[in-house]
Point group: C2
Chain length 210, copies 2
């Protein structure tokens, strides 16, 4: 992960913030208003010291003797992560996976909105999915530039993923969430995150006896 210009805050710290935020979301859903580094740490399997140290990079969000006000901490973390606004995301590929992503209800309340869908299959172009019409790949660059979209989710077959990623980068996308099981080669200033369930499974089988 390339830290473009930003700060001196370790990537590994940034990577944990969304996890903290997710835990806070759950606590808030349960109606809780205050928590502590100790409680959060217990839930996440992380030491309380690490949580306090991580948060301390951005200022003092807690109260000694009391802990952290959940709503306030959520707000602060959203600000740090730049999601105190909504980001438009392009979705490329509307096969089974792309459709499931398009229908997923969990983006909206966490800072993201799917703004347009693309597929190279003429049979899929024109289809209505969610609120949007599937557009042809030829329309991609124009649409992304017109709407000023910075993020894309890539759900195309593995053999096309690198090629489509190249197009995305040319179109001005600077962050790619890649669902294809391939490591993308991109310029240094482009962020990539990977979603690969098989990697998750393979990371567990090592620890299974027999």
């Amino acid at each position: 992960m390339a830290s473009n210009g930003h700060d001196n805050i370790p990537d590994i710290v940034i990577g944990r913030l969304p996890i903290y935020l997710r835990a806070l979301n759950r606590l808030a859903d349960d109606g809780q208003e205050i928590t502590s580094s100790h409680e959060l740490g217990q839930r996440l399997g992380i030491s309380s010291a690490q949580i306090r140290k991580d948060l301390s990079h951005f200022g003092g969000f807690g109260k000694q003797g009391t802990g952290y006000q959940i709503e306030y901490l959520q707000e602060k973390l959203r600000k740090v992560l730049n999601i105190d606004r909504e980001w438009e995301v392009a979705l490329i590929g509307v096969g089974d996976l792309g459709k499931a992503i398009a229908h997923y209800r969990g983006f909206a309340d966490r800072g993201f909105h799917i703004a347009c869908l693309f597929d190279s299959d003429p049979a899929k172009v024109g289809q209505e999915i969610g609120d949007y019409t599937v557009q042809p790949m030829a329309a991609l660059q124009q649409a992304i530039q017109d709407k000023g979209i910075r993020l894309a989710m890539l759900a195309v077959p593995v053999q096309h993923a690198q090629e489509v990623a190249n197009t995305l980068v040319e179109s001005g996308i600077t962050g790619i969430l890649n669902y294809a099981p391939i490591n993308l080669t991109v310029p240094k200033h482009i962020q990539v995150q990977y979603i690969d369930p098989v990697v998750g499974l393979q990371r567990m089988t090592y620890y299974l006896e027999d």
Copy 2:
């Protein structure tokens, strides 16, 4: 990630092996037979020294002066990761996401096979998806025990995820791939991996200017 008994090999090293394997798969697909730590590192954005060091935990897989024979290294990594066999996996929840998972073709050649599907919705029970029939939750424990299944993918709504996870653990599951945006609380000997696309997106927005 709890290292249950196993060895003294750092979790962070184990976590990278599936990534190496994925890169090797691509090289093999391209017909290449030999690679080097330098080439792999370039593709993955990792130093060649780290790759060599990681692999050295498990013995010498390369040849000085030459590099690594791809097929041989794949075989060795599969053995280390315990995927030199096929693991049966249970899938819980067959909404949009669960269906997309059930139809995904990418598990088979990387060590996994979806062996049974469950859903709590009576309207979905009995449906045919892929090669299997959706079973009711009441059948879960028996099916998992009969088939000796150790791994599960959890694709149920967030508000049921913890409760279903508890049932899975009681049924003898020891590894859970969790698609719900919630941190699961499980006994120490249970492995959990998370698939949360929003976390991926949130990890990128920090680095986007504006």
